[in-house]
Symmetry: C2
Subunit: 155 residues, 2 copies
DNA sequence: TTGAGATTCATGTTATAACAGGTATATTTC
DNA sequence: GAAATATACCTGTTATAACATGAATCTCAA
């Protein structure tokens, strides 16, 4: 019996090692998730990365964060945080201000408009996420998280 | 105790719902994997997507595949297979030929150079993949694959 | 306090992703 | 068999990713 993934990517031969299938499975699932999350956010004019930045800055509160710190907190590596924040500043979702104490730093903060947009987009996202994860038992979710940690650590 | 992922993305508050962490975990792991696989392939002058195309065409044999079929078999959705194949043709890894029977189709086939490159790159990739997945038990791998299938299906 | 190195950000450039629209060929329908 | 529709691909354009480099500022040691 061909595996589900084998069908999805129309692969004729079965996977040689189960690890191969698991690895492709992770990449495939992330791709599917990213696509669907981006589609969800599109009506709000946000990409997943932008949404992620808004959440990070919301969490940071009035202190804000500098670009490097935002980059460290992003789920996916973004090699050009500077211009990402520029674009979001252009959209008035974020404000940038050079730090007085250390003038190398530019502190970014979420604006009121950014907070409003985040508040509008979040419920839609949470509902969709819930719908995806509800079918897994608590134990499965825990096992999934642990397995992924092991895979990330092995670097 | 903060979770591993919480540390990685320096998130101060714990995840509200375990599903949230699982979802971010998938995206994070895929990002880490993609980065490391692309680094592995860099010495060969290949990206993951290009490597993926070579494998697909190798599997298709001398019959080759048209662009749409290649797109369907790719792990991650690529919205511009046409130019992806153009670039690979430019590199002489792939040949393109308009199909005589149905002139809308352009059949792509892997070239000898493509096969040689694939043969060189694959062992490095397989070793790295093995290293990552060896720490998981067979049962964990199976559970991981099943959990990810459930998540993908819930769309 | 000054010079070396580190840190943070900006900028230039190229390649690729993403989106929209157009063209040629097949297929279906009437 | 002609028109309408569908399919597969290409092309143009814009936005973003990716990479490399440079400029400004800070830190720390001598």
């Amino acid at each position: 019996m061909p595996s589900r993934l084998q069908d999805e990517i129309k692969q004729s031969r079965p996977f040689e090692r189960p690890g191969d299938e698991a690895l492709l499975s992770i990449l495939r699932t992330a791709s599917v998730l990213e696509y669907s999350l981006n589609e969800l956010l599109r009506p709000f004019g946000l990409t997943m990365t932008q949404y992620n930045v808004l959440r990070i800055l919301q969490g940071a509160g009035s202190a804000g964060l500098c670009g490097r710190e935002i980059g460290e907190r992003l789920v996916s590596r973004v090699p050009d945080v500077s211009r990402l924040l520029d674009r979001m500043t252009e959209l008035a979702l974020v404000s940038k201000k050079r730090d007085a104490a250390d003038q190398r730093h530019v502190t970014s903060r979420i604006t009121a408009k950014g907070r409003r947009l985040l508040a509008k987009a979040t419920p839609a996202l949470e509902e969709a996420e819930g719908g995806r994860m509800d079918r897994l038992s608590d134990r499965s979710v825990k096992a999934l998280i642990e397995a992924l940690e092991l895979i990330r650590e092995a670097s």
